[in-house]
């Protein structure tokens, strides 16, 4: 069998397979077809497509041909820009918001530490001592455990 005969035999089998689609698929295809035909009736003349350079045209001998390999301009450039611009904008705004919150938190911590340094009786050099920091931490933990035991 040559290529055409082989292809023809395979196509016959493909056609037979296409006829044996399930009831569910048949029903959905029929519903989709009805909706599409009804939508054609509802589409206004302004919504219907006008000839755009680069699309299929009917040639002089009645056959149809493609003037270029370009795609139909289904999505306008505005949709293409929005598809990238909106997520990028949200990302940038989100990152800025996170950075601002972190900066505010760091400022609050620094302000609290500065306040403690100013109002406390201990000299600032005491806070720079590592051993003193460990002593303070242990004292705080012991106080929290005592408070928890008394509840």
């Amino acid at each position: 069998m040559n290529e055409k005969q082989t292809a023809s035999a395979i196509v016959d089998l493909l056609n037979e397979g296409a006829e044996r689609v399930s009831y569910k698929v048949q029903h959905r295809l029929e519903r989709a077809r009805r909706n599409a035909v009804n939508a054609a009736g509802r589409a206004s003349p302004a919504q219907q497509r006008v000839a755009v350079p680069g699309e299929m045209t009917v040639l002089a001998d009645g056959t149809a041909g493609w003037s270029s390999g370009s795609r139909e301009p289904a999505d306008s450039w505005a949709m293409a820009v929005a598809r990238w611009l909106i997520p990028m904008t949200l990302l940038i705004v989100g990152l800025w918001g996170i950075g601002k919150v972190q900066l505010d938190e760091e400022s609050d911590v620094l302000a609290t530490e500065n306040l403690l340094l100013l109002v406390d009786e201990l000299p600032p050099a005491a806070y720079a001592d590592h051993g003193f920091g460990v002593f303070m931490n242990n004292t705080r933990i012991a106080a929290e455990e005592l408070a928890g035991a008394n509840r």
Partner: protein
Amino acid sequence: MATPQELEAFLASAERRAFKQAVYAVRDDDHALDIVQDAMLKLTTSYADRPAQELPLLFTRILQNAIHDFFRRQKVRNTWTTLFSSLRNDDEEDDSDPLETIESEEGSDKAESSADKVERIQILSIIDAEVQKLPRRQREAFLLRYWEELDVAETAAAMGCSEGSVKTHCSRATAALAEALAARGIRL
């Protein structure tokens, strides 16, 4: 300009082939149905003013574009579904349709014995599987050229390649399918 009757007649003749082509590409019945539905809507809302003889080519091109758009959207969607897949409960959905269990008694199927019918269904399943296994470009060329009955120039325009490429793809696809079917014991 195509009349609504011509539109409906064309879609009725093309819908099953379109569905099968979409299934071969995306390998999922529901997605394929969505693609065909979108392609039909696109044809009837944007190209209803075209003559009836232009509809087959237009619909073929719209369907191919819809399939390519599906793959592009899947790339983005897969990123999010991977993140949220642990939250999905797969036990909740029940897509079974009781009507699917009812066999149709009409048509030529009645004349087939049960064994013949099973064998035929197996053969058709094998054909579907082998067509799906073809490389994408070979499958597109074969289906457009031989199943949709476009000529070489039209197929090349629809695929965005040269006529020589179309012939090469068709030749390789046909040879691969013939060899695969022969290996499975199916005589054409």
